[in-house]
């Protein structure tokens, strides 16, 4: 489980530091830039999960300019605007760059954290998931975003060994940790849309890269982590059909 990497563009150094401190407290890794050149440099050098842009930078709407540049350069990262300006002209201009959402000053910490969650779920087209119910998650082929207490965390999908149904939940099992997500296995499979995860049982999805051995006769899969996963007949047939090596 990892923290989210966040890039902040804010010209006021004190505000930027306050904000960064607060976000750090809430398990975000924050990098600060004070102008758009810096922002661009950082974007090119590191990978970020979210970008927060203050619109007015040194009296100019550089935040919008930065957003335009990001779209132009094809950065596939969700970004949100922070602004105290509620005027229509600026709003329309900002809207044009298709930000995930806005946060209008004055805002409180709670709103900021909520807005960041909104940004993530909106970006992956899963609105009203974690923002509505913290027990759900936002799933993407490479990362799963879950809420751990009040903070948003991400899980590298490739680190998941298997996923198991537990009542209304799905348990995601990693080598060193487990966590529950309030989603059906079917929904998880659909949202994950990762070909490495195959269904071996009504209640199990297994990461194919984590399989150590398969005992076809015993209907058993043994993972690298020595865990045993049942292999149902129906899913076995499908599995064999799509894997010629095993014939």
């Amino acid at each position: 489980m990892k923290t989210l990497n966040l890039l902040l563009l804010e010209d006021d150094k004190e505000d930027a530091n306050d904000l960064a401190d607060f976000l750090n407290e809430n398990n975000y890794d924050v990098m600060i830039s004070h102008n758009i050149n810096q922002t661009e440099r950082l974007l090119k050098r590191h990978s970020f999960d979210l970008v927060v842009l203050d619109i007015m930078i040194d009296g100019k709407p550089d935040g919008i300019a930065m957003a335009e540049k990001m779209n132009e350069l094809g950065f596939d990262i969700p970004f949100i605007f922070l602004s105290s300006m509620q005027t229509k002209i600026l709003y329309e201009k900002a809207k044009h760059t298709k930000p995930v959402t806005y946060l209008i000053k004055p805002y409180n910490e709670l709103e900021l954290l909520f807005t960041l969650e909104l940004a993530i779920e909106k970006y992956f087209d899963q609105a009203n998931s974690i923002s509505f119910d913290p027990q759900t998650a936002v799933l993407s082929p490479s990362y799963i975003f879950i809420k751990k207490r009040k903070s948003l965390m991400k899980v590298d999908v490739s680190k998941i060994n298997y996923i198991e149904v537990q009542d209304k939940y799905c348990q995601f099992s990693l080598t060193d940790e487990d966590f529950l997500v309030k989603l059906s296995l079917k929904k998880v499979k659909e949202l994950l849309s990762n070909p490495d995860f195959i269904q071996v049982h009504r209640n199990y999805l297994v990461n194919i890269n984590k399989i150590n051995e398969i005992y076809l006769e015993d209907n058993l899969i043994v993972l690298d982590s020595k865990q045993n996963i049942p292999f149902s007949e129906r899913h076995k047939a499908n599995f064999v059909k799509s894997n010629h090596l095993l014939k």
Partner: protein, 519 residues
């Protein structure tokens, strides 16, 4: 006449041609008959005679032949031959008409008279007279009478002649024609004169003269009538011309009228158009004036807010800071803490007011961003309440929540402003140790609600009425002295903009209940 001649001529030439080819006698007779007839009509008597001679004697044309020859010779003054043929005709005249007979008899009489064969002439005239006596043809009778009378008179047979003259005179008198009247009267005059009966003669002359006059008069009358006719025609033509002129003038007048009316109509249309434009402009101007007046009121209002509600707290803040400087010098930590808390609270409240002023001015200048979006209401309420946790704790006010998970589709920022203001008011008017409960959810009629209930001092019914009426009130009607703040105005305006409403229940000393209803 010339056409007739022409016809006869052509018939003559045609028959001449036909004669060359005709073979049988009857054919030739017929053609010769036609030729002679044509010649007679054309007064070519010699030719007529020639052609007539060519007709054979035995045919049905025999009588006709004699008649034609008699007439032709009479005209050529070959009287003997004329007599010969007329007499031949008379011999075979049993089947001829009385009219023809009378003519032939008359002609024979005349010829003999000319030849001085008075006895024979008399005979013929008498025969003629006998023939026509019973007829009612006055002219023929007069003709015959006259001829006979003249014959007798010429032979000095006055006894026979005079009665005939008188008869002719009487007959003519009854007859209408003036010429006959004149000639018979003149005859009488001559007769009387010769009888040396001058007085009677004179009488007849006078009468004849009168008849002549009558003829003359008749002609004159005729002439006059003709003239009159001409004059009348001329007059009529003149009248017609005048009428035409009149019609023409009327036409011109009518055209002028039509053009005039058209122009008038166009003029009226143009006038109407300008009038409409003018009224539209006036309407626009009035509208603009009203808008301007409202904007001016808003501006005045904002100015007054800035000068009263913002100026004094900032001033106080300045004083507090100066006090802090002194207290820091004295290192009086307790005093510093108190002053600092005062400053913090004041800053907080001023900041809220400033936010309201900003929102209000944006709303009034139609610059406020208004984007309805779907949003979880419970989270929204939670976020707003987060800011009040500290102050509630500081004032020992219990801030309870019961939030049902429900989504709304409204403009989030404006709803936040409203909830913020209402909670702020609740805290302001709830004494220490009081209780505020915030709930949200769905009503029975599927509306979303946020309810803020406190057990504070409540609102005076007079003020309550004012707050309730705010939604229908414009800024210029609000008297700031009456204690209705910008916050409530803003709340009513924004909720109305979101198609919601605010319901307020309040009892003095017991508390108030504000319910925001949203679609």
């Amino acid at each position: 006449m010339s056409r007739f001649n022409c016809n006869y001529k052509s018939r003559h030439s045609n028959t001449a041609k036909a004669l060359l080819t005709a073979t049988t006698q009857s054919e030739k007779d017929l053609l010769n008959y036609y030729q002679s007839f044509s010649a007679l009509k054309k007064k070519l008597f010699k030719k007529a005679i020639e052609c007539t001679y060519n007709i054979s004697n035995d045919t049905i044309f025999k009588n006709h032949k004699n008649l034609t020859l008699g007439y032709s010779f009479l005209k050529l003054k070959e009287y003997k031959k004329a007599i010969y043929h007329y007499e031949l005709w008379l011999e075979n005249s049993e089947f001829e008409s009385k009219r023809k007979k009378s003519i032939v008899l008359h002609n024979l009489g005349t010829i003999h008279n000319i030849l001085n064969n008075h006895q024979i002439s008399e005979n013929y005239f008498k025969q003629e007279f006998e023939l026509i006596k019973n007829k009612k043809d006055t002219v023929t009778q007069l003709n015959s009478l006259n001829a006979l009378a003249n014959l007798y008179y010429g032979q000095y047979k006055d006894d026979l002649a005079i009665p005939l003259f008188i008869e002719a005179y009487e007959l003519a008198k009854a007859y209408s024609d003036f010429t006959w009247k004149e000639s018979t009267t003149l005859n009488m005059a001559v007769v009387e004169k010769n009888r040396e009966n001058y007085q009677a003669s004179n009488q007849y002359y006078l009468e004849a003269y009168n008849w002549k006059d009558s003829i003359h008069n008749r002609d004159r009358i005729w002439e006059l009538t003709e003239k009159e006719k001409e004059v009348a025609v001329a007059q009529k033509e003149l009248e017609i011309a005048v009428e035409k002129e009149k019609v023409k003038r009327q036409k011109t007048q009518r055209n002028a009228l039509i053009i005039g009316i058209s122009f008038l109509f166009i003029f009226i249309l143009v006038l109407w158009f300008f009038y409409k434009q003018r009224t539209a402009q006036n309407k626009l101007i009035t509208q603009q004036k009203e808008d301007l007046a409202a904007a001016n009121k808003t501006k005045d209002y904002l100015f007054s807010v800035v000068s009263h509600d913002l100026r004094s707290p900032i001033n106080t803040l300045g004083k507090l800071h100066k006090r802090l400087v002194r207290q820091i010098k004295k290192e009086d930590l307790e005093a510093i803490n108190t002053t600092n808390n005062k400053a913090l609270i004041l800053t907080e409240s001023t900041y809220k007011l400033l936010n309201n002023v900003l929102s209000w001015s944006l709303e009034q200048s139609k610059q406020m961003v208004f984007v309805p979006t779907e949003y979880p209401l419970h989270n929204l309420v939670e976020h707003v309440l987060y800011d009040f946790k500290n102050i509630a704790l500081a004032r020992n006010i219990e801030l309870d929540t019961a939030l049902e998970e429900v989504n709304i589709e409204v403009d989030i920022e404006s709803i936040k402003i409203v909830i913020r203001n209402l909670v702020d008011n609740a805290i302001k008017y709830t004494p220490e140790g009081g209780r505020i409960k915030v709930t949200c959810g769905t009503t029975k009629d599927h509306k979303k609600f946020v309810r803020i209930k406190d057990n504070g001092i409540g609102i005076h019914p007079k003020n309550l009425e004012k707050i309730r009426n705010l939604k229908d009130l414009s800024i210029d009607k609000i008297d700031r002295a009456e204690g209705v703040g910008l916050g409530m105005i803003l709340c009513q305006t924004l909720i109305k903009k979101n198609q919601g409403e605010i319901k307020i229940e309040s009892t003095l000393e017991k508390g108030s209940k504000f319910t925001i209803l949203l679609p």
